[in-house]
């Protein structure tokens, strides 16, 4: 079996186990970001580089920031972390970074058996046969926006 895949899978599972066992929400969030990055590496290995980038930008970036904002808003626990809490996520991310560097240094991804599906094909499919789905996704986002605004509005 592919060693890079095996390593990222181990990192993903270990980080996820740590997410559901942490007491502090901030620590769990940090490990969840590592888990999402590991899954992004696996998607990259599968030849889905576009989706891997989306996973990093939207999931590990935007959605996790939303969680951080809510933790800060609630003020339930202190955001300040002791330096030792950074060790676990840092080591895991370093492993992922080393894997990525190794894969990129090897040049071409995988062998002949990996068919890369690029952003162009995804875009053609998304706005071709799946156009109705894209419209519905837009409606869903609008509904989410309105719902979140309605729930978060101050009542007097």
């Amino acid at each position: 079996m592919n060693t890079v895949f095996a390593l990222s899978a181990v990192v993903a599972v270990a980080a996820t186990v740590l997410v559901i066992t942490r007491r502090s929400a901030v620590h769990a969030l940090l490990y969840l970001v590592v888990s999402l990055l590991a899954v992004a590496v696996i998607m990259f290995l599968l030849g889905a580089a576009f989706v891997a980038a989306l996973e990093v930008i939207i999931y590990a970036g935007a959605i996790m920031v939303l969680f951080v904002f809510v933790i800060m808003l609630i003020g339930h626990e202190s955001i300040a972390m002791n330096p030792r809490a950074w060790i676990g996520p840092s080591v895991m991310s370093a492993v992922l970074l080393a894997e990525l560097a190794w894969v990129l240094a090897r040049g071409r991804l995988g062998g002949a058996s990996v068919t890369e599906v690029g952003p162009k094909q995804v875009g053609i499919a998304l706005f071709g046969p799946y156009l109705l789905g894209a419209e519905m996704a837009a409606f869903l986002l609008l509904a989410g926006l309105v719902g979140a605004f309605h729930l978060g509005r101050r009542r007097n």
Binding site: S35, L36, V51, I58, A62, V70, V114, V122, A137, G147
Partner: protein
């Protein structure tokens, strides 16, 4: 470098989904429940991408984009509900929900 076998990737997606499910069942903190729902959604997305890569078609990635949209909308509404609940009850415990 051999290619990633879809069986193992699907197995990983299944393991991640089960971990998220265990988290939803075990944890009582609402924030952690939402985090575990995110883990489950992400593993489902991984399964879509694996299946798409198996056949060399973009459909799996398109479904992942839809899933991403859904996850964003779900998190926005879920976190708004969480803040509402916290403001009323001053706790994040899911067992304290409901009951007037």
């Amino acid at each position: 470098m051999a290619s990633v076998s879809p069986e193992y990737a699907l197995l990983l997606a299944g393991v991640l989904f089960c971990l998220g499910l265990v988290g939803v069942i075990v944890r009582r903190n609402l924030l952690f429940i939402l985090l575990c729902v995110e883990i489950m959604l992400n593993s489902a997305g991984l399964a879509f991408v694996v299946a798409g890569a198996r056949w060399g078609q973009p459909d799996g990635q398109v479904m992942f984009i839809f899933l991403l949209t859904m996850a964003a909308a779900e998190v926005a509404v879920g976190l708004a509900l969480l803040i509402l609940h916290f403001n009323r009850r001053k706790t994040l415990n899911a067992d304290m929900m409901g009951g007037g």
